[in-house]
Symmetry: C2
Subunit: 440 residues, 2 copies
Amino acid sequence: MTAYEIILRKRDGDELSSDEIRFMVEGFLAGDVADYQMSAFLMAVFFVGMTDAETETLTRVMLGSGATLDLSRVEGAKVDKHSTGGVGDKLSLVIAPVAAAAGVRVPMISGRGLGHTGGTLDKLESIPGLKTDFASGDVARLVDEVGMAIVGQSPEVAPADRRMYALRDVTATIECVPLIVGSILSKKLAAGLDALVLDVKVGRGAFMGTLETARRLAQALIATADRLGLPAVALLTDMESPLGRTVGNALEVVEAIDVLSGGGPPDVRETSLAIAARMIHLAGLEPVPAAALVRAEAVLTDGSALGVFERFVAAQGGDAAAVRDPSRLPRAANTREVVSPRPGHVVAIDALEIGLASLGLGAGRTTVDDPIDPAVGLEIVAPVGAAVSAGDPLAVVHWNDPTGIAAAVDRVGAAFALGDERPEPRSRLIEVLECEHRAP
Amino acid sequence: MTAYEIILRKRDGDELSSDEIRFMVEGFLAGDVADYQMSAFLMAVFFVGMTDAETETLTRVMLGSGATLDLSRVEGAKVDKHSTGGVGDKLSLVIAPVAAAAGVRVPMISGRGLGHTGGTLDKLESIPGLKTDFASGDVARLVDEVGMAIVGQSPEVAPADRRMYALRDVTATIECVPLIVGSILSKKLAAGLDALVLDVKVGRGAFMGTLETARRLAQALIATADRLGLPAVALLTDMESPLGRTVGNALEVVEAIDVLSGGGPPDVRETSLAIAARMIHLAGLEPVPAAALVRAEAVLTDGSALGVFERFVAAQGGDAAAVRDPSRLPRAANTREVVSPRPGHVVAIDALEIGLASLGLGAGRTTVDDPIDPAVGLEIVAPVGAAVSAGDPLAVVHWNDPTGIAAAVDRVGAAFALGDERPEPRSRLIEVLECEHRAP
């Protein structure tokens, strides 16, 4: 068996055996398969794809390449959610406390922002003192005591994924369903979960631009999770326009707290509850999703989810008083309004352009080593559907560094599409996919 | 412009600009584009292909990456031929002297054998003393004085091709038409040719197994040559069974001398004359291919081609007496007959199996550093169409090292397909492709 033969067989459309996939991935980690062979292999996979069996093996091999989180001391069903990433996506900060307040154990492994999409860890770290870097034993203790933890990926988990992802990132092989599935599921399986809810975003601000590609990814994720014995549900959710009214780290934390306090934008509230309900259902705490949704609404309404969030902030070393007093969070020194050039209705807000505007203000990263400014970002004053007169504010930009402000204001203005008719209101929730072979 | 963006655009089917192709190839040579990026790019090209304009640019950039041969002192039209490689393919040893005897200047750049296909340089070097490694000025002198030279590729020519080929060889991206075209034509253009004849082999012993793939390669070769201002003609020739009656270095030289002396197997004689005639025609020495064929036959019949070959051997330092006395060439110490297990007709001889048998005897190389034995190989006693009785010899194996002899004899036996009916005789010459846009 040689790397050459395996690349050739994949290139020519043959199904690879488990041994061949293992040879390729483990050989790459050991240095026996050269990086130029792995990158050619990954490009061949991009074009040819992988069967369900190949994707399952790839995930298993990537999982087996590293350490797993030992959460055996945690009682109860451990369920996480994973989002494919979007703009203004602060849902994890609402979902985790809602699910935990309803009795789910939530050991959430999150990431950082890159490009136009934000990252949950960056948002959380805008709370003074809050840490996201914990050893395995500490994660178990946090989940046990608080019901939830939101932490970064340990470098010992799935090193094959980290090495392969770094190569994919510079060889244009990121957008490949079986490789995405292996990457996501190998890391989630390493956390020893009992179930997983996947939030697959669709639209301008999402990784998957079309419903068709998003659905294909969602199907592959739940089919592979099923083969690996991990009950999973995928929700396709709309990411044409930014989620909620804020984009930027501290601004998004404030909005999440608003939702946990019973207010906040309806789309953030409803999408968070729908996902949390699926976690509650998969944890076996309610027999049907509808009952789980009622329970999720109840823990939001009675303040218990907010209470969990406060305890979580404190447990991870953050300033818990900031939860009740958001003025303790970082604020930008300056704001500037972006106004409507004409009367009409907001018919669309381009999530990608808004994400890039926020990135330009310093809220995100172009490369993994860039510093970020937790205070900057923007508030959407006139969401999709709002009626505006000429000169009315569409958005408020929060800024510190004057370098990028003019370009960001232009981008924000250009992101708003105005029309004469009020657009039909639509739900963020497009579709729910469950595996047919397994009753969740 | 970044390598990432260029890989992405190629992957997604966009046509690359000249600047982008130049950035990729020159960046790779300079070390700015990593080998893992180049290999992913090459795999994307394998799947997406290249337009004629892209292939032209690739060839130009590869040509421009290195030195060119200065043959300006050579008077007359300089024409070379290139074969995509086969089994028993000693045609160059006949074609070059025939074309040179007819007045064509033939600065032939040849290669060495690898795998089941032989190489012209290895065959020539079985002539005691003959050298194929000459500096540019010496090549010009040889062509000027003798009318022909057959030499190896200078390492200064097209280093981009050498680097890219080494990567393709270990990443399963060899079999890709635009990359093959760039590789062949960049090296031929570096020799300062006035025209080129391409012998694209088809069948079991060839690089291109089917007529369709061979035709696609031939069309791309002549179309790109045309765009680059190099008049070219491609012949598709049959490589299902080995060419002629011998496979192995010295054995093939003897057969080539037989043809130059007016004898030899009809298929070697006819294919060589057809290709030499195209060179004579492209050189402008005859107005139509049919007249060029008559001229080629004349210089073969009157002995002048054999005379050129003798002078060529002497000029390149070889034992010219061996041309009239083949007993001066290396001979294997032992022979073994492979006999027919049944009466009937030889309906096919698998060129790939014969090539592998010859390789196993030591006549070829598995890796570029393997030594070869010039004396070993095999003679086909019963060619396709021959009637045999049980026990009649099919082939004679010439061997020195006992290690591989049993396996080689088995392979040779298995390569012969016997049937009850005599197969229809067929010509080696399948098709001639000329560029439509240019009268050659």
